[in-house]
């Protein structure tokens, strides 16, 4: 009878395709919007992932997220270095500055200043040039996306003509100070979507407007064998600063964006919409499909089908439609993800998202099936008689 149940489902092509399209579209909307949300949120802590050498990130206690730099006095670096269990501590400068481009245009840039001596914090994936070139006078690195887009320069003398990516040798100004591109690096896309410029800490301070406090964050490496949590608490106790593991710092940043912005609500609405589309189209259509077949279920009930057999048939029909719709929806989402360049759209399909979509589709299908089953259970077999 289960085979007949599937034949009934696949045989009613108009309704079957309707159910399938509804579930596919719902899965696509739910998964795709969730993946974009996850991708966007991941970008908020891209800098933390860019510097894997640091065991701990130390910052001003009032800092709310990684881009919310609250400059500290440079003496904080020495205080952290003096804490027992710290193998090394490096300064990190981070600030948004205005760059004057070779063509005269101006562009906001995220300037990262890394330790002059060790260059800890410099980009790991260098596309052109050498990281050591950062020690050259006025040297900066730019990242590929920014070089291709916001920092791109006219390829010819015509300022409105075609553009070329910013390249090694190009000169720009940061706060009226000369900066020479000595390298291009590949980095993770950031949430702010402004070009990132890397240079050394002291040169970055020189680029920035004068400020008594210039130290944005301190990167700490724990001594071998040092328990990280103990060290974290010790740094906080002895310096009065806040220290975070990369994971904690990422979560703190994520938490800020989740709670302080409308992003989750906006995406939540889109995801809810996907769910409602599933309920409205697929759920409704599946219910109608069962109603259309009610007289056949009634005839089967008269002929001796138990309620269990009929419920099994309806459940199988629901599961089959759900599994196919989910599969097609996830496939479509994956194709979407593959077709969109990563620097154009934040899209991160983590393994949990298909499970969430499967849960949503299950709710839709179980809801529609339950209503259908209720009809089948209440079905009075004598209704099949004409009288």
């Amino acid at each position: 009878m289960l085979r007949i149940a599937l034949q009934m489902l696949f045989g009613d092509r108009a309704k079957f395709y309707g159910i399938l399209i509804g579930l596919t579209f719902a899965t696509l909307l739910i998964t795709q919007q969730s993946a974009i949300f996850v991708g966007l949120m991941t970008r908020t802590y891209a800098l933390i992932e860019e510097i894997p050498q640091a065991d701990l990130w130390v910052a001003d206690p009032t800092l709310q997220f990684v881009d919310d730099t609250k400059p500290m006095a440079v003496t904080a670096l020495d205080r952290v270095r003096s804490v027992q269990g710290v193998e090394w501590a490096s300064p990190l400068f981070k600030s948004i500055l205005v760059a004057k481009l070779p063509n005269g245009g101006r562009q906001l840039c995220d300037v990262i200043g890394v330790d002059d001596a060790t260059l800890i914090g410099a980009p790991a994936t260098v596309v052109e040039g050498k990281v050591e070139d950062l020690r050259k006078p006025d040297a900066i690195f730019v990242e590929t996306r920014g070089a291709r887009k916001q920092l791109a320069q006219p390829a010819t003398d015509d300022p409105r003509g075609p553009k070329r990516p910013m390249a090694v040798g190009d000169v720009l100004e940061l706060n009226e100070k000369r900066a020479v591109v000595v390298g291009i690096a590949e980095t993770r896309p950031s949430f702010q979507n402004v070009p990132t410029i890397y240079t050394t800490y002291f040169r970055a301070i020189g680029f920035a407007p004068a400020n008594r406090r210039t130290l944005s964050m301190i990167l700490v490496k724990a001594a071998p064998g040092q328990d990280l949590e103990t060290l974290r608490l010790r740094i906080e106790r002895e310096t009065g600063l806040s220290a975070y593991t990369p994971g904690e710092f990422s979560w703190k940043t994520l938490d800020y964006w989740m709670k302080q912005t409308g992003i989750p609500i906006n995406f939540g609405i889109a995801i809810l919409l996907g769910f409602l589309v599933g309920v409205a189209i697929a759920g409704q259509m599946f219910y109608n499909f069962t109603l259309d077949n009610l007289k056949y279920f009634g005839a089967m009930k008269a002929m001796g089908a138990t309620s269990g057999q009929l419920l099994g048939m309806v459940a199988l029909q629901g599961m089959a439609a759900g599994a196919l719709g989910l599969g097609l929806g996830l496939g479509a989402t994956a194709l979407f993800g593959l077709s969109v360049p990563p620097d154009r759209l934040a899209f991160k399909l983590i393994w949990q998202l298909p499970l969430i979509s499967a849960g949503a589709v299950t709710v839709i299908v179980v809801g529609a099936s339950s209503l259908s089953m209720l009809k089948v259970i209440r079905l009075d077999p004598k209704e099949v008689f004409s009288g």
């Binding site: 085979r3 008689f385 004409s386 009288g387």
Partner: protein
């Protein structure tokens, strides 16, 4: 089993609703029918035919009276046991055929066997035999909607007989068919359905098929008003028609 009681019904009563809204559908129906017979229940709309046939098919419980269907009182069984009893002992032919449109004719016929868990291959083989008996050999793979009304009812007849029921319930089997097709369908029901070990109960308004029955049970207002031999009923009807349309 010919001649032994397939139905023993005494003072069967059935009321729908309660209080002022109560409707007495059956008011003490007595009916005896034997295996090997075809009994036609006739009467005006609302006389209780459908209620009686539903009780005789084990689909509806009575409120009063005594009932034995092939030796069993279906109301003494719990819901599940009654469903299983029906599965084994009752075959149905419906007015609107009720063939599942998305599956083949062969699978439609096999449904009663598949419901009781018979092996699919064996069930389909048996269904093919029944289709051959009703003259539909070669149409096994067809979808029901590709057949004519008469052919669809023949599929329904094959379905009703495939599991060898002891009671065959036919609800207005010809009312969706034209006269000639209805006659052929009833010939088939008579030929294939009537067996010494089977009772055929027919509900109909169609006087043209009365002659297929052995006995005619007239009902009115929830009661059996008279039970007559079909031959004498048909003869009386023809005489009445001849009086109305003299040539």
């Amino acid at each position: 089993m010919t001649g032994s009681a397939a139905i023993h019904a005494s003072a069967i009563a059935k009321t729908y609703g309660t209080g002022d809204a109560a409707v007495q559908a059956l008011r003490g129906v007595d009916l005896q029918a034997n295996f090997g017979e075809m009994v036609a229940l006739v009467g005006p709309s609302g006389c209780g035919k459908t209620t009686l046939i539903s009780i005789l098919a084990g689909l509806l419980s009575r409120d009063g009276g005594e009932l034995r269907l092939a030796g069993t009182d279906p109301d003494a069984l719990d819901n599940n046991a009654r469903t299983l009893w029906r599965r084994e002992h009752v075959g149905f032919i419906f007015q609107q055929f009720n063939l599942v449109p998305q599956i083949s004719v062969l699978e439609n016929v096999a449904i009663p066997l598949l419901l009781r868990g018979d092996h699919r291959g064996t069930s389909l083989e048996r269904a093919a035999q029944l289709l051959e008996r009703v003259g539909l050999k070669g149409r096994e793979a067809s979808q029901p909607h590709k057949l004519s009304g008469g052919q669809q009812q023949r599929v329904a007849i094959a379905r009703s007989l495939v599991h060898g029921p002891s009671i065959l319930v036919c609800d207005e089997p010809t009312s969706a068919l034209d006269g000639a097709t209805g006659q052929r369908v009833m010939e088939l029901v008579r030929e294939q359905g009537c067996r010494p070990d089977r009772l055929v109960v027919l509900v109909t308004h169609d006087e043209r098929i009365f002659h297929f029955a052995d006995r005619i049970v007239h009902m009115d207002d929830g009661r059996v008003t008279r039970v007559v031999d079909a031959k004498s009923e048909v003869a009386a009807l023809r005489a009445a028609q001849a009086m109305e349309n003299p040539r």
